[in-house]
Assembly symmetry: C2
Homo-oligomer: 208 residues x 2
């Protein structure tokens, strides 16, 4: 059961790949260019070069599920948001469907289902996440959509909350998101779920 | 059979509204603000104020089908492309579904199904049209997707082609698009069709 990691070279992606490697969970890290390969090779992590704005279908070969954690991020231009967060995610879902993958695990964003309730400058980004999630739900691939809150670089606590009320805040560390991703990847029976992820007090299994 | 026109104040929208009024085809023109109303009132065209980036569900009351010809255009910023061409179109489809409308007639763009084949600077715009069209296809509303080529301000010829090979070019006048829209609106049995529209030599009915 090999998992393709799209966005492996991102901040969450790298932490996830490291956790997966340490736990013996088979992954293939998709990177944009050979220059990004060294970090993964040093850790014994398999890589494949694929261009999310070009050709990347070949990266799916031999993979059973896919993690999508690529993101132009809310602070790049909305043209990249359209090409990466929206179109990249949609094409990955279409390829996953064509290849008969068992699951698509999406890293989305908290409240992506309500873009108009986001602050105005965040709305184009939230709209891209909204539309990508909607496309995935409508596809015939089983999915898990993780919706982290505002991302921080805090140390992992491995403790979670699923609502702002429960958490008392709207943030989560990238390390905790990476850990939650690992648990989802290791739980193949978990399908067609959407989970808001915040730093909190509960073990991840209580949320899944 | 009243048709809601979203994007009525646009260049195609205004020409369509005028043709519809002249032919006795019942329409309701959605405009962004009362300041846009005078042009329509002078011509006896009913208007409703609705904000495509805010509240516009009330505009659907009493309407049986909807034309979506709103567009930020390929030359505005991609943030507006995300909010108008993508999210506005998606929300309109969701509202049309909730209200049980009989049809959603979308003005898309030629080759919107292949954003990566567009020139690089056009790709974010094409991606928004691609994803909006995909959402409409997946919705439970019957649809017609019109895919005009490069828009010109030439005089109407009422003659069309449906491929670049047939047309010998990739352009179409906004006046011809407005005329094609009118014929689609007047043909309720036409559903779940996608039609590329270019200036050409054939009557519109030969393409529908």
């Amino acid at each position: 059961m090999t998992t393709l990691v799209i966005g492996a070279n991102g901040q969450i992606g790298k932490q996830f790949c490291e956790l997966a490697k340490q736990s013996g969970t088979p992954i293939k890290a998709m990177i944009r260019s050979e220059e990004q390969a060294a970090w993964f090779q040093e850790r014994g992590i398999q890589t494949v070069v694929g261009d999310l704005e070009g050709d990347f279908e070949h990266a799916f070969e031999g993979c059973d599920q896919v993690v999508f954690t690529a993101g132009s991020g809310p602070h790049t231009g909305p043209d990249k948001t359209l090409m990466i967060d929206l179109f990249g995610a949609i094409r990955a879902a279409d390829i996953a469907s064509q290849h008969g993958l068992s699951r698509y695990i999406m890293v989305s964003a908290i409240r992506a289902e309500k873009p108009l309730e986001a602050p105005e400058k965040m709305r184009p980004y939230m709209t891209a996440k909204f539309a990508a999630d909607a496309h995935l739900r409508h596809s015939d691939v089983s999915y898990v959509i993780l919706k982290p809150g505002r991302l921080t670089d805090d140390a992992p606590t491995h403790k979670f909350a699923s609502t702002v009320e429960e958490a008392g805040d709207n943030q989560i560390s990238r390390a905790n998101v990476a850990y939650a991703l690992l648990r989802v990847v290791q739980t193949p029976g978990l399908i067609n779920q959407e989970v808001t992820l915040l730093d909190g007090q509960r073990p991840i299994d209580a949320l899944l």
